[in-house]
Subunit: 237 residues, 2 copies
Amino acid sequence: MKINFLEQYRLQTKCLVALDSIIFGFDGTDLKLLLVKRGVESDHDTWSLMGGWLAPDETLEKASQRIVQALTGLDDVYLEQLGAFGDPLRDPVERTVSVAYFALINVPSYEDKINHDFDADWFPVRDLPELLFDHKEMVEQAKERLKYKAAFHPIGFELLPEKFTLPQLQNLYEAIFGVKIDKRNFSRKILSTNLLIKLKEKQKGFSKKGAFLYQLDAEQYKKDFNAFLNFIPNPDM
Amino acid sequence: MKINFLEQYRLQTKCLVALDSIIFGFDGTDLKLLLVKRGVESDHDTWSLMGGWLAPDETLEKASQRIVQALTGLDDVYLEQLGAFGDPLRDPVERTVSVAYFALINVPSYEDKINHDFDADWFPVRDLPELLFDHKEMVEQAKERLKYKAAFHPIGFELLPEKFTLPQLQNLYEAIFGVKIDKRNFSRKILSTNLLIKLKEKQKGFSKKGAFLYQLDAEQYKKDFNAFLNFIPNPDM
DNA sequence: ATTGAAAATGTAAATATGACATTTACATTT
DNA sequence: AAATGTAAATGTCATATTTACATTTTCAAT
């Protein structure tokens, strides 16, 4: 019986296991994705998600962290598993199951640390180049997931610098959901969550009046990860 | 360059890929899980999720369907990927990445078709036995995901027979969310979605008065998969 | 005919939402 | 130093939604 059972394991075909990262960023206007150029001659014009292989002693989460860090230099990004993609023909070279994670990073902190060994660039999610394998499908799912999540939880802040203005925050939500939001209602709703601390400083340079800076109340953020349930009116998911 | 690139593939260690199914059912009172006894002497008292191996030419979804059908006999269950679990030590026999799916089935249709080759039984989710490997974690995540999803989409119906009463439906939601809901408010809210068609028949036998049966308006259901956004007051996720 | 048990139903107060326009701050220009 | 232009900040009212809560109805069983 025990033999038979171990036999079961021996009989199975094994797969390669890869990880792919959908890395979102926000530049104040557009929601963007960080893509890399594949270092293969035959694919020299194809962009792809940053990816890598699962190492023998790694968890999936750790592998994904390692891979995102290799490119961005950042080690504290928001990372969430999107799911496994396993179509038998998704990678024409060899059967590979890929586990996709999406990451939210704020672009300024990235700019300092980026690893220039990779040929990487930001693309607006509304206008992406052709992508390798099934990466387009991964990106579509990730966009949906981000909408879903951001509609109910305050994860948008992960895409902003530590100090940000209400207009910036609103731009971000408008980019994620592809809608226009009323300024007055937005500010009322967002401030009523008590998640934000208004600072004395203003953002200078962009507008003449200048907008007040805010930062997240870390305490509240932890307590109130559900603060946005019902945040976006009729989020369309 | 091209050689080097194929070399990359050759160097990677391969993993076994398994699938595990979190199969939810509802008996009118309790939310339950369908578990199987592991057919291995050393584990003769351990229950586990129904699982299986990924076949060489299968998608993950198809494999999961096949495995759920092998046990339940049902081929049209609601199935959704929960995610991949890949701790290097999760399976002590050999490194295995498992992709978990959760399934919603209605118990009566299952009872006709169940495959008795498996030693399977229903357990209330509130009182589960010890489970194999990391299956407990999978179950916890699946419970959360079911809450999340059921709070915003009308998937609860997948757990009920074709014809059901409002009290049954309410019991289901109370079981999923572990809360008491006011009868009057529940019925008003649910009927306002226009997802239900009231039938002339009543359910007999359970109460003296008998409760009217309803069925899903399939048309509306497809159109209005978001009908429940904001359905459960303050769903706690 | 009476009883018991669950099903069905309505209203009013509080709260949240959505639509909408004016004023304020300040850097730049004259 | 006054005028101008641009984006930021702010408030109200009508409507819709949510919540809390108790009585009546139905019908099988006695």
